[in-house]
C-alpha cells in the first residue's frame, strides 16, 4: 500500500502525458508545474488565503502554464520539445522565486486538507483513490469520447485530420491544458501529503512518466497509447525500483540496473509486437 501512495503522483501525471503522446507531442514541463502549483498553494496559505482557495488559484496557475504551452504549440506551431522545455525552466524558476529557495511548511493546516493527502477511506489512502478515479475516467474517455478520438486523429495524421475539418490547434491547446491541470493536481496532492512544499518537487518526473507511458504502449511518434497501459507502466517502473530496494542492491548500482531492465523490457515488448503483426499479415 505504501508503494501505491508513492506512485500516485506520477500516475496522475502519466494520464495527461499519455494524451499528449497520442496527440503527437509530449510535455516536459509537468514536473516543474507540479512543483510550482505546490509552492503557490503553500505560499498563498501562509499569506492568509483559505487553503482551498489557495489550491484553486494554484490550479489556475497550472492552467496558465498549459495555456501558454498550448498556444505556442497549437496556434503558433512551435515544436513541443522546445516549448515545453522552455516552460519547464519558467515554472521551476517561478517556484524558486515564490519560495526564495527554501521549503514552505504548512504546519497546522486544516485537517480536511491533510485528509486528501494522508487520510484513508475504507482503508485505502485518499490520494490513491484520486489516482484511480482520474485514471478510470481518463481510460474511459480515451476509448469512448469524441474529443479523444480527435486527439488520436491529430496524432496519427495531422494533415488528414485538418482536411477532415478538425481544428488541430484547438485539440493541441486542450491537450496541454490537460497535462498541466493534472500536473498541478499532483502538486497539490503532494503538498497535502507532506504538508511541506519544496521548490524542487517533481524534478525528473517528466522523463519517468514519459518512459512509463511508452512502456505501456504509447508511441513517441503519436497516434498510439492507452491510459491503462501507461498506468501499468508506472506500476512496473515502481515495482522495479522497489524490487531493487527489497533485494538490497547497492544505491550506486540501482540506476544502472533499473535502466538496463527498462531497455530489456521495451525490447522484448517490441519484438513480440512485431511477431504478432507479421502473423496477422501472413494470415491475411
Amino acid at each position: 500500500m505504501t508503494t501505491a501512495i508513492g506512485l500516485a503522483a506520477d500516475g496522475i501525471i502519466a494520464v495527461g502525458m499519455t494524451v499528449a503522446l497520442v496527440s503527437g507531442g509530449f510535455d516536459l514541463s509537468v514536473g516543474s508545474v507540479m512543483g510550482l502549483s505546490g509552492v503557490t498553494a503553500g505560499a498563498l496559505y501562509l499569506a492568509g488565503v483559505n487553503i482551498w482557495a489557495a489550491c484553486a488559484i494554484a490550479l489556475m496557475i497550472g492552467l496558465v502554464c498549459g495555456l501558454i504551452n498550448g498556444y505556442f504549440i497549437g496556434k503558433v506551431g512551435l515544436n513541443p520539445l522546445i516549448t515545453t522545455l522552455g516552460m519547464m525552466g519558467i515554472a521551476r524558476g517561478a517556484a524558486y522565486v515564490v519560495t526564495q529557495g527554501s521549503p514552505i511548511s504548512l504546519f497546522g493546516v486544516p485537517k480536511s486538507f491533510e485528509f486528501i493527502g494522508s487520510g484513508r477511506m475504507a482503508g485505502i489512502p485518499v490520494i490513491v483513490i484520486f489516482f484511480i478515479i482520474i485514471a478510470a475516467i481518463g481510460d474511459f474517455l480515451m476509448r469512448r469520447s469524441e474529443p479523444m478520438r480527435k486527439v488520436f486523429y491529430t496524432g496519427s495524421n495531422e494533415k488528414a485530420a485538418l482536411l477532415s475539418g478538425i481544428n488541430t490547434g484547438n485539440v493541441k491547446m486542450g491537450v496541454y491544458l490537460l497535462t498541466a491541470l493534472l500536473a498541478a493536481c499532483a502538486g497539490i496532492l503532494s503538498l497535502a501529503r507532506f504538508t511541506v512544499a519544496t521548490p524542487t518537487a517533481g524534478i525528473g518526473a517528466e522523463l519517468r512518466v514519459i518512459s512509463a507511458a511508452v512502456i505501456g504502449g504509447a508511441s513517441l511518434s503519436g497516434g498510439e497509447g492507452t491510459i491503462l497501459g501507461a498506468v501499468l507502466g508506472v506500476i512496473l517502473l515502481n515495482i522495479i525500483n522497489n524490487g531493487l530496494i527489497l533485494m538490497n542492491v547497492s544505491v550506486y548500482w540501482q540506476d544502472l540496473i533499473g535502466g538496463a531492465i527498462l531497455l530489456v523490457a521495451v525490447t522484448v515488448d517490441l519484438l513480440t509486437h512485431r511477431k504478432k503483426i507479421r502473423k496477422a499479415k501472413a494470415v491475411s
Binding site: 526564495q100 527554501s102 511548511s105 504546519f107 519544496t198 518537487a201 530496494i245 538490497n248
Partner: protein, 338 residues
C-alpha cells in the same frame, strides 16, 4: 589532535588574543590618552560576502553572523552573489566585487578550481579573502570556515543511538556522489562501527533531493527491513520524505528520525515530534568568524611572525570547523529565524 580539540583551541586562542589586545589597549590608553582602539573600523570599509544560488535561506544565517561582527567593528557589510547555480556567473560577480577594491571578501565556492583564479587576483590586489562553507583550496585564501561533515555525521550517529537505546537496525538516506552528503554518511557509519557494536546499518538509500522520491525509497526499505528503529537523513528534503513514509507505514513514534539542517519544515516536524532531532550547521559562526578574520588581517592586528606577509606565512588558522548543534524538541524554538 581531532577536529573538536582543534576548534576549541582556535576559539580559546581567539579569546586570549582579544584579551591581550584589550590589555594592550588599556596600557596604550594610559600611555597616550585618545589613541584609537584597534578594533574600531570605519564605515567606509566595505566587506563583501559572495555566494552562489544567493537567494536560498541557508546563506541568510551566514550573513547574519557576518553582519553582526561587522556592526561590532563599525564597518559596512554587503551581501551579494550569483542568483543561479552557475559557475561563470559566480566568477563574474566575484570579479566585479574585486574591481570595487573592498576591505575584505568572504566567498563560498561553487567550484573549487574555477574560483581559485579570481581569489588569487584579489589577494594580489591586497584584498584579504577567506572561504566559508565550500572551499577553493588552490586559491590563496587565508582561512576556510565550514562544517566538518564527517564529524557532523558522527554527532548524528550518537544522537540516533541515544534515541533508540543503543541497539537495533538503522537506515541512512543520503545523496550519493555529492561530497558533503557522502562525508556525513561516512562519518555516521564510522561512528557506529567504533562506538555502537549493537547497531546495524542495514541500508543506504538515495533520497534524490525530492521528498516524493525519498518517501518512496524509505517505504521500500521499511518493507525489506521491518525491524528498523532509526533513520538518519543527510539532507532536510529527505527528512521530510522520511517523516511521511514512516507515518504512512503506521510506524510513527516507533521509528526515530534524525535529519539535517534547520529549515522551517524540519523545525515544525521536530516540534510536532515526527522528526526526533536535526543537525544544525554553524552558519552564524561561519559568517561571524569570517568577518573577524578579515578585519584582523586587513588591520594587521594578528602578527604571529614579524613581516609574515612577505615571508609567505599564514597568520590565521587555515581551517576552522564551525561545529554543529543538535536540535531537539527542547531547544527547537531558539532555531526559528536563524
Amino acid at each position: 589532535m581531532n577536529r573538536r580539540q582543534l576548534a576549541a583551541g582556535i576559539l580559546s586562542a581567539c579569546a586570549c588574543l582579544s584579551l591581550s589586545f584589550t590589555g594592550c589597549n588599556r596600557e596604550a590608553r594610559q600611555a597616550a590618552p585618545g589613541t584609537q582602539n584597534p578594533f574600531v573600523g570605519s564605515p567606509n570599509e566595505e566587506y563583501y560576502m559572495v555566494t552562489f544560488v544567493s537567494g536560498i535561506e541557508y546563506w541568510k544565517g551566514c550573513f547574519k553572523g557576518f553582519q553582526a561582527a561587522g556592526k561590532l567593528f563599525g564597518v559596512t557589510t554587503i551581501y551579494t552573489g550569483a542568483p543561479q547555480y552557475d559557475v561563470n556567473q559566480q566568477v563574474t560577480v566575484l570579479e566585479q566585487v574585486i574591481a570595487k577594491n573592498p576591505a575584505g571578501i568572504a566567498v563560498t565556492c561553487m567550484n573549487p578550481d574555477a574560483l581559485a583564479a579570481p581569489i588569487k587576483k584579489a589577494t594580489a590586489a591586497g584584498i584579504p579573502v577567506v572561504t566559508f562553507d565550500a572551499d577553493a583550496p588552490r586559491g590563496p585564501r587565508y582561512s576556510f570556515l565550514a562544517t566538518g561533515n564527517e564529524y557532523a555525521g558522527s554527532v548524528a550517529a550518537k544522537t540516533l543511538a541515544d534515541l533508540i537505546g543503543g541497539r537495533g537496525e538503522v537506515i541512512v538516506i543520503t545523496l550519493p556522489a555529492q561530497l558533503n552528503h557522502e562525508q556525513r554518511a561516512a562519518g555516521f557509519k564510522k561512528a557506529l562501527q567504533a562506538d555502537y557494536p549493537d547497531i546495524k546499518l542495514v541500508a543506504v538509500g538515495n533520497g534524490k533531493a525530492d521528498q516524493t522520491e525519498a518517501a518512496k525509497v524509505l517505504a521500500g526499505y521499511l518493507q525489506a527491513h521491518p525491524d528498523v528503529k532509526g533513520v538518519f537523513c543527510t539532507d532536510a528534503t529527505s527528512g521530510v520524505g522520511a517523516a511521511t513514509a514512516v507515518r504512512e507505514a503506521n510506524r510513527a513514534g516507533t521509528i526515530k528520525i534524525v535529519s539535517f539542517d534547520t529549515d522551517k519544515g524540519t523545525l515544525d516536524a521536530i516540534k510536532d515530534g515526527v522528526i526526533s532531532a536535526s543537525i544544525a550547521q554553524g552558519t552564524y559562526t561561519m559568517g561571524y568568524w569570517s568577518m573577524n578574520f578579515l578585519f584582523q588581517v586587513k588591520h594587521e592586528l594578528v602578527n604571529p611572525v614579524e613581516g609574515w606577509k612577505s615571508k609567505g606565512i599564514n597568520p590565521l588558522p587555515p581551517y576552522v570547523d564551525t561545529g554543529v548543534n543538535v536540535v531537539t524538541k527542547e531547544n527547537v524554538d531558539s532555531f526559528y529565524g536563524i
